[in-house]
Structure formats: C-alpha cells, structure tokens
Amino acid sequence: MRLPCPHCGERGNEEFVFLGSADPVRPADSEAPIEDWIDYVFLRDNPAGANRELWHHTYGCRSWIVVRRDTRTHEILGAEPARSLPPPASTSAAK
C-alpha cells in the first residue's frame, strides 16, 4: 500500500503508523458531558467506504496526516497534513 505524504511524497505503508478515524472531535474540556467523552474515546463510525483517518509518518517527516481512503478497496482519495486542518474545538479551550 502506498500513502501520499503531503511532505515526503508517496511512500510505502511500512513507514507509517495508523491511529484511527480522524473524525472524532475531542470535547471542549474535561468537564464536558461524560457521554461526549465516551463517544470521543471509544465509539467509531467504522465506515465501509470513504474513511478519514490519521496516519503518522513515523519513518519519514513525523507528520500526522489525514488520509481519505476507501476501506473496501483501499483506494486513496486524498491526504493532507493534520496541522493544516481547521483546529478542532478543544484548541481554543486549551489556549
């Protein structure tokens, strides 16, 4: 499997570590309703089809990237650096 690192170019998946879905958004702070937290930490859509997922280019530039990939065919639909994405809600709270 080849993954397009936005920084390093296309590389074999042996260079990457997979984390999971990029969709869950960390609740704004630790006092948010516990259900939101359970959801964030444990529940996943796990779609059969396009999936937004977090990969880390561990043996390359060490960037976290968000790859869109079809989980039925493994077709790559796109990739972008995680840090360039609009910040999730929690960042403002942490600031």
Partner: protein
Amino acid sequence: MTPQTQHTSQPFRLASGGLIDRATAMPFTFDGREYYGHPGDTLASALLANGIHLTGRSFKYHRPRGILYAGPEEPNALVELRTGARREPNTRATVAELYPGLTACSQNRWPSLAFDVMAVNGLAAPIFPAGFYYKTFMWPAAFWEKVYEPLIRRAAGLGRAAREPDPDSYERSHLFCDVLVIGSGAAGLAAARAAARSGARVVLCEQDFRLGGHLLSSRDEIDGKPALGWVAEVEGELAAQSKVRVLRRTTVFGLFDHGVCGAVERVSDHLDEAPPFTVRQRYWKIVARHIVVATGAIERPIVFPQNDRPGIMMASAVRSYVERFAIVPGRRAVVFMVDDSGWSTVEALQRAGASVAAVVDPREEAPERARSIGDAKVLCGATVTGTRGRLRLSGVTIKDRQGREQYIEADLLAMAGGWDPALHLTSHLGSKPKWDESIAAFVPGSLPSHIDVAGAAAGRFGLDAALKDGVRAGSEAAHHAGFASVSLAPPAASALPMHTRCAPSWRAAKLDAKSFVDFQNDVTAADIALAAREGYRSVEHAKRYTTLGMATDQGKSSGVNGLAILADVTGRTIAETGTTTFRPPYTAVAFGAIAGRETGKALRPTRLTPTHQWAAERNAVFVEVGQWLRAQWYPGPGEADWRESVNREVRAVRSTVGVCDVSTLGKIEVMGPDAGRLLDFVYANTVSTLKVGRMRYGLMLREDGHVMDDGTVARIGEDRYFLTTSTAHAEQVLRHLEFCHQVLMPSLDVAIVPVTERWAQLAVAGPRSRELLAKVVDGFDLSTAQFPHLSVAEITICNGIPARIYRVSFSGELGYEVGVPADYGDAFIRLLVREGEPLGLEPYGTEAMTVLRVEKGFPATGELNGQTTARDLGLERLLSTKKDYIGRALQRLPAFNEPDRPVLVSFAPVNASDILRAGSHILDLGAAARIENDLGYMTSAVYSPTFGHHIGLGFLKRGRDRIGERVRAYDPVRNCDVVVEVGPPCRYDSDGGLARA
C-alpha cells in the same frame, strides 16, 4: 558399451534441435541413480530424456504419477531437491533447472517410488471419499488424538523439510518503474518494447530462465523469421536501454495495493551452490505505475477415467519437450483433444519420429489440418474411456462415434483440453474473473485503471492477437504513465489462426471415481458430485470439502474442470457457479526469500549505548530491552552467580557510589513560547510552573484515563524543556506529543525534537557521588545549597566539554545524572570509573537498578503495565484539578474510583529466606486458591541486599488499609506459596532525606 557411455546416453533425446547445449553432459541423480542431461534442461526434461515418467505419488491414494506439464503449474512431479540443510521438499521438477550434480528424490512413498505400501489407500478409496474424516474417527472419543490423528498426520504431507538452518542467504531490493510487464511471451515482449520505445522506465519479469513463453516451443514465424529470432531481437533491444530492466527467473508472485508487486528472482537456484557474495534468491518489491499482465495461458487437462497415469501429459507440454528440449516423450502416442492446439502436438510428435497411433476428438469433424497428418488414425466423435499401465501408460481404450470400444497400445497420451488464461494475478486485488462463453474460459474481470492484461492472459489466444495486444498494452501503459506513445506497427505472425470450437474438457467422457480433476490432492469427478449431493454446492464449499485446488499448484490445472463439473451436477451455468478466489502467491514462495536478511540476529536492529564497548570490555552481561542491549550486571572476580554481582553493585550505590548508563531513556526537547502550555496538556501534573533550572517527576496518561508513562521534566530555559521517558515508551511518547501538538493544538508555537541519542547519560548515585562528580565538573558548585535535589544545569566538564547535569535519584541515594555528547560517553565512563574506584565505585547494570528502585517503591514497566491508574499507583496527588489534560475526563468513570481496586504496596516474606517472584497472585491466609479469592498480584520482586531478604511490589485490593497484615503470595506455576507481610511501596528512606541531602 562402457558404463560411461551407457550413462551419458539419453535414449529419448533427439539428435538435433532444441534449446539445449549437447556439447556439455551434466550428471544428476534421481532416487539414487545417476543420469545425464544438458544445460538448458529442467529436471523434468532431463528425466524424460532418460525415459523416466514416474516421478511421484499422489497425496491421498499414493497413485503413481508422472510429469504432466512443462512449467510451474505442475501438480504431479514434485521432488525433494538437494539434501541435508538444503533439502527443499515439493519442488516441481518442471521448473528445477538442471545443474551438474543435482540430487533429487521422490517423496511421499515408502519404501520406494515403484513400490509404495501406502498405495493400499487407493484400494480403500471407496471408503475415503471427499470429507470422509468429518464423518468418522469419533469413537471412542479419546482415540481421535491418540490414534487416528497421528496416523492421518503421518500419512499426509508430501516431502520432508530440512531440519537444519538454511545455509544460504537471501535479500530484498526495491524497484520503481513506469511500466511493469509480467511475462515475456509474444505479448509481454511486444508490450515491453512498445513501452520502452516511448521512454518509460520498464521492468520485464519472466519466471522462466529464457524469454519467449510459448514461442520457445513453437515453430511459428514472426515478420517472416523464426519466432526465436524475433525474441532475440527484442531481447537485444531491451538490453541496450538503460531505462529497461529484464529480470529472468523472476516470478511476480503477487499484486498488492497501489502498484506494489512482489517478485522473487531465483538468483542461484540453477547452481549447485550460490557463489560467494551472492544470494540464493532475491525478493524484489516493485512499485509500478502501470502493470501489463502478459502471463499467457495454461492448458487444461481433460477429465476421463484413469486420466492420471505416468505417460499421460498435456499436449502443450509434449510440444515443449519436443521443440524446446529435443525429447520425444513417447514412442507411440495417442492425442486426445477437445481443442485444436492439439494438432500442433500431433505434428511435433511426428516430426520427432514418434508414431501417433490415434487422434481422439469428441467433436464431430476434424479441421482442414487433419488431412495432412500422415498415417495417424483420426477418430472424431470419439472419446477415451480408460487407460492401462501401472507405473507407465501401456494403452488407451477409445470409444468411437458408434460406441465401439477399441484398445490401442501407447506409452504416451497427450491431452489438449483447451486453455485457461493465467489471470491469477489480476484477482489479487479483488477482481472476479468472468466467464467468456466464446472461448469457454474465464477472463479477467474489471480491473483497477493501473492494471492491463495482454495476450493469452486476456483470453486473446493466437500469436497474432498476442503481438497486437502486447503493442497496444505497452504503449497505453506508457501513455498513462505520462509518456508520448510512439506508433509501432505490431509484427506479423505466421501462426495458424486459432479457431474456437473448443469442446468442454469435463464433458469429453463419462466420469467416474477414477476421473481425476485435481491430480495432486486426488479429487475426482465423483468427489465433486458427492460434495454437491451433501449440500456443499457453493463453489467455495465444494473446494473446501473436497480440497479441490488447495494443493501446491493451487488448482492451476484443475480449477475450471472442477467448477464446471460442479455446475453440471448442480444444474447451474458456469457463470452462476463462479470461481474460487486466486490469492498470492502465484507460485509458492520460499520463506527465506521474503525474510531476506532480516532474520536471525538481524531480525531487528540492535541498538547499542554509547558505553557499550566499555561495558563489553568489562565483561558485562547484556540484556535485550526492546531493541537495545543494556548491561544487566558486571560479573566480578570470584563471584559465583549473578546475584552476588548484583548485590555488590547495589551495596556500592547504597554505601559509596555507582555509575549506570541510562542513555536508553527517551529524551525529548520541547521548545518555543508555547512549550509549557503543551506540556501542561500532556502531563497530568502541572509543568509550566517549573522554574528555569528545576525539574520534576511527570506523569502522562492515555486519554482513556490509564497511565501511559512517567519520567522527568526539566526546564532548561524560559522556552526550553527537557523530558525523559521510559526506555520502552520513548517512541510512543514522542508520537503522542506530536499528536497533541499537530492534531489537537496545531496553533501552538512549539518544536518537539527527540534528543535521545545526543546524550550519553550516566546516572551517578550514592553517598559519594558528589565527591566523584566534583572531580570532573569545570568548577560547578554541586552543594545542595547551590544545586538542590531536582535541579538541572548546563555546565561543562573536563575542561570545556558541554554537559547537562540533573540532580535526580532513581535509587533513593544522593544522585545525579550527567549527559555528555554521545561520542564522549565512552571516555567519560572510563574516567568516572578510574576516578571513582578509589572511592569504592562500582558500575551497576539494569538488575541493580531494579533492586534499588523496588526498595524505593518507584514504579516501572511491571507497574506501568497499561492497566493501572494514577490512583492504583498511589500517584493521585499528581492529578491536577486546575486544568484540562489528556486522560483527565475519564477519571470520572465509576471503575476508576472503586475502593476495591488493587493499589500499589510492597511485600516482604515473613520467613526471610523465602523467595518472592513477580507474577505471584495474592490471597488471604487460609483462603482457598480460587479466583474469587484473588486479591492482587506481584509485579516486581528482587532480592534486597539492603534488607537481607526478598522484597516485592504489587497491587493489592484495599492495600493501603492492609499495611502490616500478612497474606499469601501464591505462585502455583512455579510451585511457590509464601506468606508475606504487606508494606508501603517505599521501604527505603521513606521521607526521601538521603536524596535531598
């Protein structure tokens, strides 16, 4: 005749022709007898040259079997090649290249190939139909494992594996190309040439040792010249181009996602032994932008009664043995065909001087070509109903159009059952083949855009079609890869156009329980019918119930016949029935080839610390810690065992001074104006309040609330922090920090730089550590007043070498860690030891380090096992209530706050001579050893020279309320059961005064 000439004579070798080098005779042995062949031979062709057809026994009934094919699809002729540590079971004689001195043995027979007692299985065949084992061997219950199963296991299996380590070496390499062409037949060569001419980077892989595919065994002409001349011309053109790479003896065994292909090159298999510095096989990992599959087609056997005797061969194989290897595989042949390519075999046999006793064709009329076939009897509308001959075919029974049977003596029966495109690779990414009624075969289904199929592999049989299709596919692939296509007229072929009135190979005769479909696994037409009768009607069920297509040849020859018979008996069409799934590898791949050099000691890299050389000189015993090698202890003179060494090391730290290399700890520098903010978020305790020059213990949680890792955080400068992690979690923590920064808080102005390897980090611990260090620092005041516990400073040592010094103690004693640039680590430890020895210094290893920290009750890997919480560890005071941090929210869950959770305590044996062992469970005294009474477990246990007995750490339910009580440390797997007293985690200097002094 001298023995010499008797041996070298090859009675079935033709006097001329073929792609062999008659000038050189190569001796080889089969089943202990010596024979001769020539360069250019395979083991199979050399055996045939010597008149040997019988080469193996089938899996289940141990029926005598001969050479069926001339390529890798061979199901029968499997041998044990080579001997000793190089023994390779199940090697197809049809692909093993002959080399001088080759040794091969038949397999799965006892005592000999000609007389195999297990052949009684064949007599019992009626009670061993498909799936019989599911229905029996159940009584008495205990007998299955004691009696039946061992018998079955001994009978099963084919060859014997070597029992010694493989002496050969293997390697991996990588290739990137615009166009990968798989197969070098007419289609592949045309495709490679077309792609290369457009300027693309081309790789051409051919499993055979010669390029040419079917052309090697044909008399076709291309552009008015013999086809082999055209092959040579293309070969030359490709060789001349630097952007083209031709890999012979290289099988592409699998297609994987996004153009990644696996291929194995048999670099030295054609030699007795690999030459120096040369591998036996090389695994190529090829990344191709476009792939042209030009793998040709495989001829399909005909299913008829007793179709499995030695001497029965595929018609195309006969052609190949005649034309390419110059062998006449029989003197008197019958050709049974349902497909016109069989006529070429008739011609080839006649050219080779064999008599063709009969041509049998169930179709009603013969083509034009049959007229010029000489004296062969052509029987249209006829079929073969049986054969005779125990170890070699002796004759064939034929039923003609009128239903009359006749018996014809013959030592060779060639069968032409039609062609199946070798589309296996095209299925590896999930595409289903589709049935094409017009050619009565499966062709590739819809494919991803970067894969194309050309020639016979696409069901475009015939040389003309292959050449045209190859040119098309090659230029299109180059075009897709971004190269301008050059117009290239396809070469013109002389070969007879193929006509397509192929008749079904599975309906050419009346089938029975000796009509073999899968030769290796002994699956017959009757087995398939039985499977269907019993409800295993899905093609996948029938495969699994009968084992059809599951042998080493993966059904390359049997697949279509099998499912077609299934379709017939279940009243479905072949398209409705479908195929089973082709999976990698295309042909079986040696484990060693893929393992390459990454095995044995090189399975994983070995990481060495900066003081490794010094420790090795000091005879340190090393231990694997992840990929690291660390000094575990340093044996001293006269010490009887490791425990004595460790005790000495521990005592030194407690009484004088010790030094230990702790460079393996993960070290990370976090810099920038927002560094404190990031660290407050990843640590459970607060970091940003640290003053410059100070450090503290830090605890990291996972978002699910459990402890991830612990370590220290030092503030080196206003915007600069230095973190340590445990050795085991260094990479995980770094990635986690990067996650928190890049994904959760991308707007923070922070840089995270791993600096583990920048520093040789030495722990100097013990009451005299200050005294020792004073000798090496460049005028730095180490007094507690100036440099109290948990301080850090950037200093120089030894006249100007930059260093960092941390006042931190993992032993409980007055202690420091000093980091020097890694290249100085070796000299630095030598210096410390030299200067320290007069003070009583001992270097200490990981074992002593564990003793010291267990005495102090500090948690490490055993306690930070991913299942424990801050509260379990007694570290709840570190959980900040003033900020959000990773893992905080879930602390609220009920399970985290249950009073019954086991918490960290220490244990000491009541009888001081008792040994404690980590992994013991804790029970109340007198409680039965049952899981309901389980109170916890011991995570670390050491002998403490400080206390003179063992001590342990572990988790105990309500442990804090039970200090001073006695419980059992129960360890049945090591036959131990010890009464222990519960204590607080820290047993040594519990107020920490020593470290602060």
